[in-house]
Amino acid sequence: MPGLTVVVAEDSVLLRAGLVGLLERFGHTVAAAVSDAPALLTAVRSASPAPDVIVTDVRMPPGFSDEGLRAALTLRPRYSVLVLSQYVEQTYAAELLETGGGVGYLLKDRVGEVTEFADAVARVAAGGTVVDPEVVRQMLRQRRDPLDRLTPREREVLSLMAEGRSNAAIARTLFVTDAAVAKHIGSILSKLDLPPDDDDHRRVLAVLAYLRS
C-alpha cells in the first residue's frame, strides 16, 4: 500500500532521520517528523489531509517516561498508530490493543528488517493489528500448560495469529494452503475453548486475552 501519509515522532535525531528516509524509500509521504509528545498531538491534529498512520516512540521528552504511548492512546481509535518500543512489555502492548484495530506494538529492532517493517506500517494503516513476535513469545511461555495440548504446527500458527497476521499471511509464512491454516485455527480455537471469529483483530484480542489471563 504505497503513498501513505505518515506522522513520525521520535526524539533521537539519528533515528528520526532514518525512519523518514525509510518511509520515503517505500513511497510514503512523511507529513511531519517531531521529537516529543505534545508536538506529535499538534502535528496530527493540524495535518491536512489527516495522516493514514502514526509511527511513534514510547519514551520521549519532556518526561522520558511513556509519553509517546500515552499520546498514542489519546489518538486512538481515531488514528492508526504503530508504537515502536525498546521494551518487551505486555502491559504496553495490551493497553494499545484494547483500543481496537489499526494498532501495532513493535520492538525498535524490527525497523532493521526494512521490508517487514514497511509491511507492518501498511497493515496498521489498513486497520490491522501488529504485535511483536518477542512479546507474543513471552505470552506463550506463560501459558505453557494448556498450550501443551497443541501440536507444534498449531503453536506456530497461534504465534503468528497473536502477532496479528491474516490467514493468507500465515499460509505464506508456513508454506501451506489457506485451507490448511483455517483448519489449524479451528482446531486451536476449539482446544483453547475460544469462540471462532472471522474478524482478524477480534481474533487477535481473544488470543492475547487468553494468553495473558
Binding site: 533515528l15 511513556d66 502491559t91 506463560q142
Partner: protein, 396 residues
C-alpha cells in the same frame, strides 16, 4: 589472692594524686582567670577550666584500665570539619563535654576525698593501733605477738573496703565518661539515614545508566540496523555482499537483544511508568517457571518501596527457577491499610530447603529490605513448599 586488691589500691592512690594535682591546677587557673578577666587572656583561662573535663576525663578513662578490663570508648563526636573553630564548637555543644566537667567537679569536692578517706581508714587505723600497741610502755610481749599474728588478717580485712570502693568508683566513672545509650541511638539514626541516602543515590545512578544506554548505544544500534537494512535493498538477493550485510544485521540484532536485557536488569522502565503490578507481571512472564500474579494495590507505593519490592520479587522468582525445581509459583501483594505496609507473598511448590544463609541472592534481599525497614520471613521445609513473606512499612 588475685591482683585486684593491688590494682584497686593503685587506682585509689593514683586517684588521690590526680585529685591533688587537678585541685591545684584548677585553683590556679580560676584565680588567674578571674584576675585577668578584663583582658582576653583571662577568659581563655576560664575557658580552659570549662574544658578541663576533656583532658581529665581522657586520663580517667585511661586510668580506668587499672580496675576495668573493658576499655571505655571515647564518647565524643568527630568535628564536622578540620580546624580548631569546628573542634571548639563541637565540643562546647556536646552534652558529653559538660558531663565530664560535672565529673571533675564531683570528683574534686567528693570522690577524691572519699578515696583518701578509704585509704586512711584501711591503712591508717590499723597502723596507728599497731604503733600504739607496740610503742606504748610497757610493751606487752603478748600484745606484740598478737599484733604480728593479726597482721595478715588485718591486711585481708583492709583489702575489702579498698576493692569494693574502687569497683563502685570505676562503675561510676565508666557511666559518666563512656558513650551513653541515647548518643549511640543518635549515631545509629545517623548511620541509618546515611545508608538510605546511599541507596537513593545508587538508585538515581542506575536510572542514569539506564537512560544513557537507552538514549545512546541502543538508538545507535537501531539506526545501524536500519542503515544496513536499506543497503540490503539495493543489493541483488543472494549476492556475497547481501549475505555479509545479513550477517551484520543478525549480529546487531543479537547485540540489541543483549542490551535490552541488560537495561531491564539495571532499571525496569515499566516499574516507573506503570507501577509494581505491571512490572511483576512482566517478570513473571519471563520466568521459566509458570507464575500466577495476584497484585491488587489501591495506589502507587513510594518509589523506594516499589523498587525494593520489585527486586525482591524478581530475585525470589529467579531463585525459584534456579533452585526450587518447582512446577509453579505465585506472587501475591496487598496493601495493609492499618499501620500501612505492603505485604508480599511468594510461594512455590518446589523441593524447599531454601536458606538465606546460603547464596548471595537472599542475603542481598535482606540488605535491600533493611534499608526500608522491611521484614522477610522464609518457611521452606525440606520437600517444600517454600513461602516467602515480606512486609515493608509504607507511610502515606
Amino acid at each position: 589472692m588475685t591482683s585486684w586488691p593491688w590494682r584497686s589500691l593503685a587506682y585509689l592512690l593514683s586517684g588521690v594524686l590526680v585529685g591533688a594535682a587537678t585541685a591545684a591546677s584548677l585553683t590556679l587557673l580560676v584565680i588567674g582567670g578571674m584576675m585577668l578577666a578584663v583582658v582576653v587572656v583571662g577568659l581563655v583561662l576560664l575557658l580552659c577550666v570549662a574544658l578541663s573535663g576533656l583532658v581529665i576525663a581522657r586520663f580517667e578513662r585511661w586510668r580506668l584500665r587499672l580496675v576495668d578490663r573493658d576499655p571505655v570508648g571515647n564518647p565524643h563526636r568527630r568535628p564536622a570539619s578540620a580546624g580548631w573553630r569546628s573542634w571548639l564548637g563541637t565540643r562546647l555543644r556536646e552534652p558529653q563535654t559538660w558531663r565530664e566537667f560535672g565529673y571533675v567537679l564531683v570528683s574534686l569536692f567528693g570522690l577524691w576525698w572519699i578515696d583518701l578517706g578509704v585509704l586512711i581508714f584501711s591503712f591508717g587505723v590499723p597502723m596507728i593501733v599497731t604503733v600504739i600497741m607496740v610503742t606504748e610502755p610497757p610493751p606487752v610481749l603478748l600484745g606484740v605477738v598478737l599484733v604480728i599474728l593479726m597482721l595478715p588478717v588485718s591486711v585481708l580485712a583492709m583489702a575489702y573496703p579498698v576493692t569494693v570502693w574502687a569497683g563502685a568508683r570505676a562503675a561510676m566513672a565508666r557511666n559518666l565518661l563512656g558513650p551513653d545509650g541515647a548518643e549511640l541511638g543518635q549515631r545509629l539514626g545517623e548511620v541509618a539515614r546515611s545508608r538510605a541516602r546511599l541507596v537513593d543515590a545508587y538508585e538515581v545512578e542506575r536510572r542514569r545508566i539506564e537512560r544513557d544506554l537507552h538514549d545512546g548505544a541502543q538508538q545507535r544500534l537501531v539506526a545501524l540496523t536500519m542503515t544496513l537494512g536499506l543497503a540490503e535493498l539495493d543489493l541483488p538477493p543472494g549476492s556475497p555482499s547481501a549475505s555479509a550485510i545479513r550477517a551484520a544485521q543478525d549480529q546487531a540484532r543479537l547485540a540489541l537483544a543483549e542490551l535490552r536485557e541488560l537495561i531491564r536488569g539495571v532499571h525496569p522502565q515499566v516499574l516507573t511508568d506503570r507501577g509494581l503490578a505491571a512490572a511483576v507481571r512482566d517478570v513473571a512472564g519471563r520466568s521459566a517457571t509458570p507464575v500466577t500474579v495476584d497484585i491488587d494495590l489501591p495506589r502507587r507505593m513510594p518509589a523506594p518501596v516499589e523498587t525494593t519490592a520489585y527486586f525482591v520479587i524478581a530475585e525470589a522468582l529467579a531463585n525459584v527457577a534456579k533452585h526450587s525445581r518447582a512446577a509453579r509459583a505465585s506472587v501475591w501483594a496487598r496493601l495493609a491499610e492499618v499501620d500501612p505496609r505492603l505485604c508480599l507473598r511468594i510461594v512455590d511448590d518446589g523441593r524447599g530447603g531454601a536458606d538465606p544463609g546460603l547464596g548471595t541472592g537472599l542475603a542481598g534481599l535482606l540488605d535491600r529490605l533493611a534499608v526500608v525497614d522491611g521484614v522477610l520471613t522464609i518457611t521452606s521445609p525440606s520437600g517444600g513448599p517454600t513461602v516467602l513473606t515480606v512486609e515493608i512499612p509504607c507511610p502515606d
